[in-house]
C-alpha cells in the first residue's frame, strides 16, 4: 500500500501540484466573485441594476449610491449602526479584558464554573434573548435607544472578548510581570508599564472584532429598535418593498467595513482562536 502510494506520489507530483494550485485559485474565486458582482451592481446606475441582461462590468456610475444616501432614514440608520457598534466595542473590552486577564493569571475557586458560563453563552442563540429584553427595556426607558441595543450586542461580543483577551494575556510570559514587580512596580504599574504596551495591538484587534459583531447583527437590532433603526434592521425592514439598487448599495455599505476590519485584524485572528479553543 505505502509503496504504491509513494511511487504514484512521484509520478503524479506535477498533476497533484496542478490540482492543488487550481483548487486554491477556485476557492479564492468562490469567495471573491460574489463580492465582485455586488460591487458591479453597486457601481451601476439604478437603471442598469434593474435591466436585463446584466453587464458583468461595473458602469462606474454613482447613481445607486446617491440614491442610497438620499433614501429617507438611511443615513441616520448608518449613523446608528456606527454608534451602537462603537459602544459595543468599548463596553466589551472594558468588561471582558479584566476577566481575560484573571483567567490567564490566576488560579481561583470557581474558575471552571466561570469558564463554563462564558463557553455556555456561545452555545446559545443569543439574539433570542432580545425578546424579553424588549419588555424590560420599555420599563427602564432603554427601548429603542442605541445604548440599549449596544448592551445586547455586548452580550454577544463579550464572551469573545474574554476568550480572545485570555489568549492574548496568556501569550505574555508571567515572568515579565514578575520582573517588573522585583524592579519596583506594583501590580498596577507593572500592568501599565509592561503588559499594556505589549498587548495593545491585540486588544485593538479584539475591539474591532466586537465592532464587527455588532455591526453585522440583524435579529436583535430588528427586535429592539423602531425609530432608531440600525442599518441592518433598516435594510431588513425595507427588504420586501425597497428597489434592488437600494438593497445592493446597502449590502455594499455593510460589507466595506468588514473588508477593512478583517484586513486590520488578520494577524490576530488565528492567535486569538488558538488558546480560546482549549
Amino acid at each position: 500500500m505505502s509503496d504504491a502510494a509513494s511511487v504514484s506520489g512521484h509520478s503524479t507530483n506535477k498533476a497533484g501540484r496542478f490540482v492543488y494550485v487550481s483548487g486554491v485559485v477556485l476557492l479564492c474565486a468562490w469567495v471573491l466573485i460574489p463580492l465582485y458582482l455586488l460591487l458591479v451592481n453597486t457601481l451601476s446606475s439604478p437603471e442598469a441594476v434593474n435591466s436585463f441582461p446584466k453587464s458583468f462590468l461595473p458602469g462606474f456610475d454613482l447613481g445607486s449610491l446617491e440614491f442610497f444616501a438620499g433614501f429617507s432614514g438611511m443615513l441616520v440608520a448608518l449613523k446608528n449602526s456606527i454608534i451602537v457598534a462603537a459602544i459595543t466595542m468599548v463596553l466589551s473590552i472594558l468588561i471582558g479584558a479584566p476577566a481575560g486577564y484573571a483567567l490567564s493569571r490566576f488560579e481561583f475557586r470557581g474558575k471552571e464554573v466561570f469558564r463554563l458560563l462564558i463557553l455556555l453563552t456561545r452555545a446559545f442563540p443569543l439574539p433570542l434573548l432580545a425578546l424579553p429584553l424588549a419588555v424590560l427595556f420599555i420599563r427602564t426607558g432603554l427601548d429603542d435607544t442605541a445604548f440599549g441595543l449596544a448592551l445586547v450586542h455586548t452580550t454577544l461580543a463579550v464572551p469573545f472578548a474574554v476568550l480572545i483577551t485570555f489568549s492574548l494575556f496568556s501569550g505574555i510570559p508571567l515572568e515579565l510581570e514578575e520582573a517588573a514587580w522585583t524592579l519596583g512596580c506594583t501590580r498596577l504599574t507593572a500592568f501599565t508599564k509592561v503588559v499594556l504596551p505589549l498587548i495593545l495591538p491585540g486588544i485593538t484587534a479584539s475591539a474591532i472584532f466586537a465592532f464587527v459583531i455588532s455591526w453585522n447583527e440583524v435579529f436583535a437590532a430588528a427586535v429592539l429598535t423602531i425609530e432608531n433603526r440600525t442599518l441592518t434592521a433598516f435594510l431588513l425592514q425595507t427588504l420586501s418593498e425597497s428597489p434592488l439598487h437600494l438593497k445592493f448599495a446597502g449590502g455594499f455599505i455593510l460589507v466595506v467595513p468588514a473588508l477593512v476590519f478583517i484586513f486590520a485584524v488578520r494577524k490576530y485572528l488565528f492567535a486569538m482562536w488558538g488558546i480560546a479553543n482549549r
Binding site: 510570559p173 515572568e175 515579565l176 514578575e178 520582573a179 517588573a180 514587580w181 522585583t182 524592579l183 519596583g184 512596580c185 506594583t186 504599574t189 508599564k193 509592561v194 504596551p197 505589549l198
Partner: protein
Amino acid sequence: MAVIEIKNVAKRFGEYQALQDINLTIEDQEFMVLLGASGCGKSTLLRIICGLETATEGEVWIGGKRVDHLPPKDRGISMVFQNYAVFPHLTVFENIAFGLRMKKLPDDEVTRRVERTAGLMHIDQLLQRYSGELSGGQRQRVAVARALAMEPDVILMDEPLSNLDALLRMEMRAELKGVLAESNTTAIYVTHDQVEAMSMADRISVMHKGEIVQAASPIEVYRNPAAEFVAGFIGNPPMNFLPAAPAGSGQWHVAGQVIEGPQVDRALRFAVRPEDVRPAETGLTAVARIVEPLGAHLLVTCDIEGEMFRAVLDSDLAIRSGDKLILAPQPDRVRWFDPETTKAVA
C-alpha cells in the same frame, strides 16, 4: 548588611506539600546555591524569598527586617529570571534603567548606573537595541545588568544559565562569580547543575522533596554528605553504596571483606566515591561490566556481589569487560550511612 533568615517556612499547594519546615540563615555577602532536582522546592523557596509566592507558614527576614508580608519591590532584592524576562518593548538601556526610573532617580544618576553596569556586563555596545535583536547570552547579560543596576542588598537568580549552551554557560559562570563578588551583595542562586553549584557557591543547600538535606560548603557537601541522597546526587558519577553487616567492635563485613567502621551494632551501608578506589592486592572483588574511556580516566562499571559499583581508574590500565578486579577503597574516604534514617553515621 543583608543577612537572610528563613524560619520554619512551609508551603502547600492544595494537598501538595512543596516545602516543609525550612530553616536557613544566609550570611551577608554570601553566595548561597540552592541545589536539587526539578520539583524539589528550590524555586518555590527562592520565589518565597522574593515575594512572588507567599509561604503557608513561617517567616522571612532580610537585613533584620521581617519581609514576608511585603511585595517584592519593598524587600531590597532584585532577581534574574530563568528566561531573562527582558522587556521586549524597551531598549536595552531602558530595560536596565527600568527599576531606577521606578525609584524616580534623577536622569544623570540613571545614565551613570546604566552605563556602569552595562560596562560591567560588556553590553555597552548594545544599549539601543531591542531584546529581539539580542542573542540568548546577550539577553542574559541584560538581565544581570538590570538586577545589578538596582544596587540591591540581595540578588536572587533562578537557573539563570540553564538556557545557554554549554560553552557560554562555562564562560558566564566565571564572569557572574567575579561580578557578584565585587558587588558586595548577598546572592541566592537556584540550579540543578552540580558543577555550577560547586564552582560558584560559598555554601550549597542541597534540597530534596521540599526539605534542605544539607547546607554546607561545596567541599564539605562533596566529602561528607550528610545523607544518602546527597551522596547519590553530588558527584559525577555519584557515590557507590554496598550493604555492610556488623562483625563486632567496629569491624564490618563488606562484600566478603572486613573493613573498619563506626561502633554501632546494626546493619549499615558502606559508601565510597568512584575516584577513591584503586586496584590493589587485597580489597573488594569486582567484575568489570562496562568500560568507558573518558580521556584522562576510565569509568568502569562493575558488579560486586550483584550490586552495581563504579570506579574511576587510570586510563593506562588495560581493563576489558569481564575482567576481574580487586579494588581497595581509600580508608579515610569511606563513609557510612544508616539505611533506616538514610543519614550519615560517624
